[in-house]
């Protein structure tokens, strides 16, 4: 991510240290992860020490310090989805993509994450791909959704 873009985001928030969290979130959504350079730049411009920023970005799960894939796959493993067979969905995705939850594949195609509830338990088991919710999943349907995402 270029320095200009980061500066733009910081300027949008008037370079105030109190907007740190929002700035980091904006960079995260722009770039899908936080580079070391980005954090260094934010620290410099807002005059917030790097150890504080490091504390914050490692605290919230919304931030990632490693590159994320182009497609974000979230599998719900909350109670309702779990009893409806979320593990089988997870297994299918793991097999299709070759990655485990929390990982990203080498060509940055997918990032896989388990979540605890997506708020639509009646649709369980639920998976979310790039923000779109797919309900009542079966292993076959899961494979189809993944195939459609890539193409």
């Amino acid at each position: 991510m270029e320095i200009d873009k980061i500066d733009q985001i910081i300027d949008k928030h008037h370079g105030e240290a109190s907007s740190l969290l929002q700035i980091l979130l904006d960079i995260q959504s722009e770039n899908s992860w936080l580079t070391k350079e980005a954090l260094g730049r934010v620290s410099e411009k807002l005059n917030v020490p790097l150890n504080r920023i490091q504390h914050i970005v490692t605290f919230y799960k919304a931030f990632s310090l490693v590159p994320k894939g182009r497609h974000q796959v979230h599998i719900c493993v909350g109670t309702a989805c779990h009893v409806r067979g979320a593990t089988r969905i997870l297994d299918t995705v793991e097999e299709a993509t070759g990655i485990k939850p929390g990982e990203t594949d080498l060509d940055l195609k997918f990032s896989l994450e388990t979540v605890n509830c997506l708020g639509c338990c009646a649709l369980g088991p639920v998976m979310e791909v790039d923000g779109k919710v797919h309900g009542k999943m079966s292993p076959v349907k899961t494979a189809e959704v993944l195939k459609m995402t890539v193409s």
Partner: protein, 204 residues
Amino acid sequence: MSEIQLQIDGKEVKAKEGMTLLEAAQNAGIFIPTLCHHEKLEPFGGCRFCIVEVEVNGWTKLVVSCVYPVEENIIVRTRSEKVDRIRKTIIELLMAHAPDSPQLQDLAQEYGAVRDRFEKDASFCIHCGLCVRYCAEVAKKNAIGFVGRGINKEISFIPEIAAKECNNCKECFPLCPTSYLQAAFVLVEALAFPSPSSKPEPEE
């Protein structure tokens, strides 16, 4: 500033408004054990070891004295049965992390804590935050910070800053109640500046 009258362990104590209970007790020569407290640093309330029993209008409650402001006419007990029991448990929990810390062992003896009550998870850090806060507030270098949260929380040096500042400072080392800090620094140093002998042999 107005004066506040309170009673600690049966002794009448005068304190200034805005003082913490711990400070008031220390001024009166009453000892309250602490782990994360340091007079040069802002109160942190991290270790909960300075917990005391406070009686207000006949009701007692347990408060952490290093972050509790003094109040008029309260009765404070620093060594009640309840307080001792809680301190014993705190020590036992901390010892799951740092079983061999001399400071903890002394306190364990005093409060009758059992070293092996909880399963060991020897991370050696008890998250007192002394090093982190000292570096930020007194040394003003910000070379060390916390990362992660919950059970994954740990201290971490920022290599770029640590490489420049820490070798000449090291003021945080003696603060650490478990000496884990020093080990962490040595590790970072070793990773940042690998000695020639530890580098992997080039393949022929």
